[in-house]
């Protein structure tokens, strides 16, 4: 039986006295698009950062593609990638220069053809030779996506992939991610506040609150469990619940 792509066991992260992630366990099978959903400070970005190896857990184990991320992250990193609106690409480099640098960091063969192919798919060809810092937010998001897909990752981690985008561009990005996932069979895990995005893209939603995964299921299962009409209402039920949150109680 093949390993899940992501296996997280009892992962905890403390920043001094602050418990950011509290003994979280979850697994994401191959080919699934999953979401970490929760309010600000729920632990979504911290969890993603630990999956990427940018942040070391205080306790617990993370395995990606069956490899221990603490010991063997360099075996895994060539097979995954990441995008976030909060991490920039160098502004003074052109889009093509940025993609060239990252393509070479991933040791890609036929890099020029790969960049041209991505440029066509993501509709960035017309500004490939423009400085990245001079692009609009929507253009930057497409470029960031090009960087995240440069190595055709089997695992794609996305932090708020459509944050600060207009609805049209956001819809386009979601459509592209659906196409990429279908075509490549990649596993995608995203952290998001955007309920429409999660309902559309994700078959597996982990609801986070105060560093813990408090509920999990498909968007439809969660909506039915809480007796609500939308995922946003479920989100609000969980976010506004008292200190002693019990998902079974909340679902009643």
């Amino acid at each position: 039986m093949s390993h899940p792509v992501i296996e997280v066991t009892a992962v905890t992260k403390r920043f001094g006295e602050t418990l950011a992630v509290d003994a979280v366990d979850f697994a994401v099978p191959r080919g699934v698009t999953g979401a970490l959903l929760g309010g600000n400070g729920a632990g979504k970005t911290t969890t993603l950062s630990m999956l990427l190896g940018l942040l070391l857990p205080t306790a617990g184990h993370i395995r990606i593609f069956g490899e221990d991320m603490l010991r063997h992250r360099y075996r895994v990193l060539p097979r995954m990638n990441f995008s976030s609106p909060y991490v920039d690409l160098p502004h003074r480099l052109t889009v093509r220069q940025n993609l060239t640098v990252y393509g070479r960091l991933y040791g890609l063969a036929h890099l020029g053809a790969r960049i041209e192919s991505l440029a066509r798919d993501l509709q960035i060809a017309e500004f490939l030779d423009r400085q990245t810092g001079k692009l609009s937010a929507g253009q930057k998001t497409r470029v960031a996506l090009a960087k995240a897909l440069i190595n055709e990752p089997e695992l794609l981690l996305l932090d708020e992939p459509t944050a600060s985008l207009d609805p049209d561009t956001g819809d386009w990005v979601r459509g592209y991610l659906e196409t990429y996932q279908r075509r490549s069979g990649a596993t995608i895990l995203l952290a998001s506040h955007n309920m429409n995005e999660v309902e559309r893209l994700c078959s597996d939603v982990m609801m986070m609150r105060k560093g813990r995964i408090v509920d999990r299921g498909s968007p439809r299962q969660l909506i039915e469990r809480y007796g609500r009409d939308t995922l946003e209402q479920v989100f609000l039920d969980i976010a506004r619940a008292g200190e002693r949150f019990d998902p079974r109680e909340a679902a009643q």
């Binding site: 950062s49 990638n81 991490v87 480099l93 640098v101």
Partner: protein, 276 residues
């Protein structure tokens, strides 16, 4: 067409391709910004002009300088090798903080030591861009060529550059720890070492306690060596070996402190948060 990672590069621990990618990244940046390129040329040239006139004056008023014309110019240029060497590491490092790019870099297969090697490579490139024109400028302006030092010049150059690298890595560690709040260290820190480095005068001029400090600096051995070459036409092997040993120590300690700071940054989550 395949965009799969090159199998050989993936298996090997060290990848010259990734090192090349990082050097290319910094060269792109350098080419894209004329103020950055101008800054490389500006200070060495200004220093050479300023100290060149001072040197000319002292040559007619000081037997010390008169004994070996160009001693001040040589000292200025060699001091700048160390300063530029350190600054070359620090500026390339700061470029990543300014562009908030560390998060992307370290989810790629780039190893921290490959990044360090790319910083050192770019430091050498920046020093050569700054120093070669300055050294050539001194020839028509002051009829002094530092190249007359011969092979010892190569030794002095390498020893000072490596000391600059060691300092640059320690400053990089402080930047990882304190963020851009420590940015000014990149420009100021090295000048703290100037008095004890005895750039323009012999170490024996210093108070005794400071002489002990001076002998822990590779730079003091280099400048004593430079004066021995220029005044006595001999290459002092003892100073050379001391500088080599100290440089090795500085580089190992600098790299160690940098890698420890890098790990601590991963514990604090600083790689994602650092920026302008």
């Amino acid at each position: 067409m395949s965009a799969a990672p090159d199998a050989l590069a993936s298996r090997a621990g060290f990848s010259p391709g990734r090192l090349g990618a990082m050097v290319l990244r910094y060269l792109y940046l350098l080419r894209s910004s004329w103020p950055r390129a101008l800054e490389l040329l500006y200070w060495p040239a200004i220093q050479v002009v300023l100290w060149g006139f001072t040197s000319q004056f002292l040559m007619t008023n000081s037997s010390y300088v008169a004994r070996a014309g160009g001693v001040l110019l040589a000292a200025v240029m060699l001091w700048d090798v160390m300063f530029r060497g350190q600054l070359g590491v620090s500026i390339s490092f700061l470029e990543e903080l300014w562009s908030r790019n560390l998060g992307h870099l370290f989810v790629s297969p780039l190893r921290p030591y490959e990044w360090v090697l790319s910083l050192l490579t770019m430091s050498l490139v920046r020093v050569m861009i700054g120093m070669v024109p300055a050294a050539l400028l001194a020839i028509p302006l002051y009829h002094y060529s530092i190249f007359t030092l011969g092979l010892p010049l190569l030794a002095f150059f390498v020893l000072l550059l490596v000391m600059g690298w060691g300092l640059g890595l320690v400053i990089g560690a402080l930047l990882l720890r304190h963020g851009l709040g420590a940015e000014s260290l990149a420009w100021l820190a090295v000048f703290l070492l100037a008095p004890a480095s005895a750039v323009y005068y012999p170490v024996s001029v210093l108070p005794l306690w400071l002489q002990y400090v001076a002998w822990t600096l590779p730079s003091a051995h280099v400048f004593e060596g430079m004066r021995a070459v220029m005044f006595e036409s001999r290459f002092p092997l003892d100073h050379f070996l001391a500088a080599v040993a100290l440089d090795g120590l500085y580089l190992v300690v600098g790299t160690g402190i940098f890698l420890i700071a890098f790990r601590q940054a991963r514990e604090r989550g600083a790689l994602l948060q650092m920026g302008e």
